[in-house]
Symmetry: C2
Subunit: 361 residues, 2 copies
């Protein structure tokens, strides 16, 4: 095998406040890998198939202590995120050529990695190969799916049938799955907010009982119509004034799963929105709890893979993807995702061909 040209997306520099511009993602093609000469014992040589662009990555682009994975990105080095990759060559026990893995990996088209467990690299469920697109393993069957499923399980449960749930950023990667689980698995009345009429239409199509475009409908009005008796479960993706409005509308014993607060990520501290009605947390016995999905894999990872695999193949939960072609466009894809340019899971297709295409029946 001749040396291979590696395309990487490098993290240029920290951006503490404001939007992260597209040119902060630098395409680099300088690296070469010669698998035969470079691959050492205990290592595997991977080619990237899909990479995932996610909002949580914003936190790692700020020069600050991050509790996600312990640290920010390293300037001048490749970004890192959820990826699906195929083993091209292996000198590590337990990994064979042709197998497909997923995990947190650098944004490099080809790479040699240590195969040890600490990397969180694991093989995708073989029984699903050819049944679902491989991109699902960074979506509904990957981190966003695990986020939705485990957040409901660990923070929102116990959930009673008929409870009223609101999902913000409902047409995003996590929101779409949360809403479908709440509707089709838990039997809740589900309301979604999203940023365009197309997204609202999609939410209705997927079974949401109500959905509104927050750009065109005042949220107080939309929520009063959709949830006249208040809200029991709030899946929090946005923060700021939306959180304040929802707290006002919470029923006693409401649960707020604080998964993200995207409206606040780019703001300098002094411009962040001050939530004035936290007093209701006491009187209404609201539980608001933050989550980082990495905490739950050890306990729930296997159960998730089985359960969600079943939901997806049965059609109970539908995957919606927003695919960008080519690793060179990963920065653009991330920037667009951050302003809601995606509907459903934003993924970047890195390898041209899918080694396990889904057969039409």
């Amino acid at each position: 095998m001749a040396p291979i040209e590696v395309t990487s997306i490098l993290f240029k520099e920290f951006v503490n406040d404001g939007k992260v511009p597209e040119d902060n993602f630098v395409v680099n093609k300088e690296q070469r890998i010669d698998p035969e000469a470079d691959l050492k014992d205990g290592q595997i040589f991977l080619r990237l198939l899909y990479l995932s662009v996610d909002p949580y990555m914003r936190t790692r682009m700020r020069k600050m202590e991050s509790y996600y994975l312990g640290s920010g990105f390293e300037p001048g080095k490749p970004l890192q995120g959820g990826c699906v990759a195929q083993v091209v060559a292996s000198k590590a026990p337990g990994f064979a050529e042709g197998e497909v893995v997923s995990g947190m990996l650098p944004w490099s088209s080809h790479q040699i990695v240590e195969a040890d467990a600490q990397k969180g690299l694991h093989k995708v469920e073989p029984s699903l190969l050819g049944k679902v697109p491989l991109s699902y393993f960074v979506g509904v069957l990957g981190m966003p799916g695990m986020t939705a499923w485990s957040g409901l399980k660990k923070i929102a449960e116990p959930i009673k049938e008929g409870e009223v749930a609101l999902v913000s950023a409902a047409a995003g990667a996590v929101g779409l799955i949360v809403g479908q689980l709440l509707k089709h698995v838990y039997g809740c009345k589900v309301i979604g907010s999203a940023g365009s009429n197309d997204k609202v239409a999609l939410l209705r199509e997927l079974g949401f009982d109500a959905a509104f475009n927050y750009h065109t409908t005042p949220k107080e009005q939309a929520l009063k119509e959709a949830a006249p008796d208040g809200i029991d479960i709030y899946w929090e993706n946005v923060g700021g004034p939306v959180l304040e409005t929802v707290i006002e509308m919470c029923r006693p014993h409401a649960r707020i799963v604080a998964c993200g607060m995207i409206s606040q990520y780019d703001l300098p501290d002094e411009e962040k929105y001050g939530v004035k009605n936290l007093f209701h947390v006491v009187t209404k016995r609201i539980k608001m709890q933050g989550m980082v999905v990495a905490d739950y894999y050890a306990e729930l990872g296997k159960e998730f893979a089985t359960t969600m695999g079943k939901y997806v193949t049965e059609g109970k939960v539908k995957a919606v993807e927003h695919v960008t072609e080519g690793i060179e466009n990963a920065g653009k894809a991330w920037v667009e995702m951050m302003v809601g340019g995606n509907t459903g899971k934003a993924v970047v297709k890195v390898a041209a061909e899918d080694p396990f295409p889904v057969k039409k029946e």
Copy 2:
């Protein structure tokens, strides 16, 4: 028995914003009770021994939906709160003359009440009579004690030995018990904030590892010194800027028991403090949960009575009381308590003589 003159404290009117003045508590002596003529089957005739003045009552003085007990106080009628009373006469099975009960009762020196269970009236543990002052049954062995014990159990647990805990309003009725439980039962490092040097001295005496006077020491400085590595458990009694500072200092997986937010009770909505750093709830996986103690009695009431009775008689948890004499002074006692005039549990002694005095050994 001749008709008895009843002294009641009536609730004058709703006060939505600002401090509730002392003259909103109206002493009334117009009612007469003739126990022989007035007492019907299923009823008991009680004389009040102690009544409790508590911050949560502020919520019921506002004309708004309250989730505490379902409603505000009724203008022109007696206020209501935690009380200890003695049965003078009974026409209800299960209650005998001379027995001591506690529960939510009107602020009337004498009263006839239905004895049914819905009132939440229950007999105080007979084995403790003469061993502890009866006032403890509205304090460390009553609602404030149950609040402290059950809030830690249901929201803060699991608690690891050596975790760092902060208690605000730590010299108040609930705070003093929370701090002692965290220190002497759970083995935490406990920090207390309070509003005077005398209170701070008391906290140290009771075993708090650190304590500061928030009037004279900037909270950021005091907390950085006392908890340089951050806070794991925060018992929230005050809200506002203190909550914001604590969120900033929370360690990952911190728990905030939202028991009260006294700094915000009197403020009109637009003047309430906006907490700007709730984003940390996500990244640090903070759990903030509100509590109303009434929710926990059915599940935990008996266990509390046994457990806390043991802690108190063993001296593991010490009761500190601030006693005002005479039901006529109940309004004044409440108003003073709201500005921190009390150290420990604020109670009003209604009957001149204690029927079960504690014997000195």
